[in-house]
């Protein structure tokens, strides 16, 4: 369990292997291809399944099949490839199979570029596929979390029979950082509902069709009840220097880690800023955010997009406190200096700026 210098893409792939992923299906796309390449080597080595699919459409439907067969399975891709998976993801939700998807986001829309971005928040968190469904969405902010949250993703997927998404970005995929890999876990048992041949049991069916509206409505009620349970149990977030904060920064993933550097900088000037970092983007840390909104003077949402999560923040905060947004698009990582400037501005506007900029007590 020693610390190794690991590339994010390799880290999550190997973490999946350690978590007992038995079948990987994927299609190359920058900036996550190293993960597929890692799996191409590792899975056959362990006698597990690696298939380079003909497309992302095929990949997600292969995952669907392997998941229906009851094995831990996954795919990984990046934004355009993930867009091609929307139908498949909706089907998987509609038949309640567990699986893990890693989206290493890049600049969009369209072909865009291969630089890091967070432009798929709405697509992944709100459901880019048709119908009412949710996926658990986990947002790592460093290579260690790429590992830990991948393992957690498999566990949550199985526990709730749901697709769990690791929503990373090109920066987390491409960067190297010190991190520790967990030991290799034994493979999981096939669940009772899985398709393994109807030997000594009734036949099993994995399907998302409910032609009768009343029946489909009941199924949807069941899904919604499950989602409510997940909302009650699986919220995850990090609070960073929030104890005395007057300005709350809300950010996830890479934007959050850059924001930490910015917060350190403005703290040195006496601006009491802190960070709420949602780790689970769904379920969203609504209670924590609401509580934060009660105690700070203003919120600043920082994202590597044109403003997506900020909609959720506004929805949850319900006007309790001004919500400002700072974003960079195009695959540009915001620089700590830019974020610090934004924090200063928000603080000044809210009367929570640095001591010299305003008269009231700082040590309050």
């Amino acid at each position: 369990m020693s610390i190794e210098l690991l590339k994010g893409n390799v880290a999550f792939a190997e973490a999946a292997v350690r978590a007992g992923c038995e079948a990987y299906f994927g299609y190359p796309i920058t900036p996550q291809t190293e993960a597929l390449e890692h799996m191409a080597r590792r899975m056959p080595e362990l006698g597990r399944v690696f298939v380079q699919a003909e497309s992302e459409v095929a990949a997600i439907n292969m995952v669907y099949g392997a998941a229906a067969a009851g094995v831990r399975t996954m795919t990984s891709s990046s934004s355009p490839g993930v867009s091609l998976m929307m139908e498949g993801l909706s089907y998987m939700a509609g038949s309640e199979v567990p699986a893990v998807l890693v989206d290493v986001m890049r600049g969009g829309p369209g072909l865009g570029n291969i630089a890091p971005a967070q432009g798929d928040y709405l697509q992944i968190v709100k459901g880019g596929g048709h119908g009412d469904y949710k996926m658990i969405v986990l947002a790592p902010a460093n290579v260690q979390e790429m590992i830990d949250l991948t393992v957690l993703a498999f566990d949550l997927a199985d526990r709730y029979r749901i697709v769990t998404v690791l929503l990373a970005d090109g920066s987390l995929g491409q960067m190297m950082e010190g991190a520790t890999l967990p030991p290799l876990r034994p493979l999981t048992e096939r669940p009772a509902w899985a398709l393994t041949g109807a030997r000594e049991r009734d036949t099993n069916l994995v399907s998302s069709i409910h032609l009768d509206p009343e029946e489909l409505a009941r199924f949807n009620d069941h899904l919604q009840a499950k989602y409510a349970e997940i909302e009650a149990n699986e919220v995850r977030f990090e609070e960073h220097r929030l104890d005395d904060a007057r300005v709350g920064v809300v950010a996830f993933g890479t934007a959050a880690r850059v924001a930490k550097t910015a917060i350190a900088a403005v703290r040195d000037e006496g601006v009491a800023a802190g960070l709420l970092r949602p780790i689970s983007l769904w379920p969203y840390p609504e209670a924590a955010l609401r509580a934060l909104a009660e105690r700070v003077d203003a919120l600043l949402v920082v994202e590597m997009n044109a403003g997506q999560m900020v909609e959720d923040v506004r929805r949850v905060v319900e006007g309790r406190v001004p919500v400002r947004f700072f974003g960079r698009t195009g695959g540009i990582m915001p620089m700590p200096e830019e974020i610090a400037d934004a924090i200063r501005e928000v603080a000044d506007a809210a009367g929570a700026g640095a001591p010299e900029a305003q008269p009231q007590e700082v040590n309050a």
């Binding site: 960067m175 190297m176 930490k260 990582m333």
Partner: protein
């Protein structure tokens, strides 16, 4: 205490590996570190660079707008990074490929004909190590020894025979840097 730097050049000049070596060395020294690469649009022969941050604290941003140091291996990289290095920072220039002078006067500039030095040492692949040696002379985050040992640990078996030459390159780079006076005052 945080050090951040950029290493930039053509793809194939070993800039990514040089950065990784620093990151490995940092990890070996129980420090926090991030290594972050970036490439130009060319499939090959285009530009490549990496940012390395080393700190005794957890690292926020793996990229820096204004690095504290930069090693530039070709002219486009000098053009790009010269304006960005923090005032008082360090700029190491591969003089073999860059014939223009550095314009800024508020930097500690070390120009080394690294390709030529590498050729002298017997392999054009050592350019990056020569420049890294120069960096370590100016920013003694680790000893040359520590870096050489790290190299030993990370080099795949089949490349182990290259260790002595790499070590020599690091040392030669450090020597050449030591010979250059610290020019700029802290801006």
């Amino acid at each position: 205490m945080t050090t951040d730097l950029v290493i930039a050049g053509f793809g194939g000049q070993g800039v990514l590996f040089a950065g990784q070596l620093l990151a490995h060395a940092a990890l070996e020294a129980d420090l926090h570190t991030t290594w972050y690469p970036s490439y130009g649009p060319e499939m090959r022969g285009g530009t490549a660079n990496c940012t390395v941050v080393i700190s005794d604290q957890p690292i926020g941003s793996p990229v820096v707008a204004r690095p504290e140091a930069a090693i530039v291996l070709n002219l486009p990289s000098l053009d790009r990074y010269e304006p960005l290095v923090r005032p008082g920072g360090l700029l190491i220039v591969n003089a073999s490929l860059i014939d223009r002078d550095v314009r800024r006067t508020d930097l500690d500039v070390i120009a080394i004909p690294a390709d030529d030095v590498a050729a002298e040492l017997g392999s054009p692949r050592l350019t990056n190590m020569v420049l890294l040696g120069a960096l370590l002379a100016r920013r003694p985050v680790f000893t040359l020894d520590h870096v050489a040992k790290t190299l030993e640990a990370v080099l795949p078996e089949r490349h182990r025979h290259l260790l002595p030459a790499n070590r020599a390159a690091l040392e030669r780079g450090a020597e050449l840097a030591d010979a250059v006076e610290v020019a700029a005052a802290t801006g």
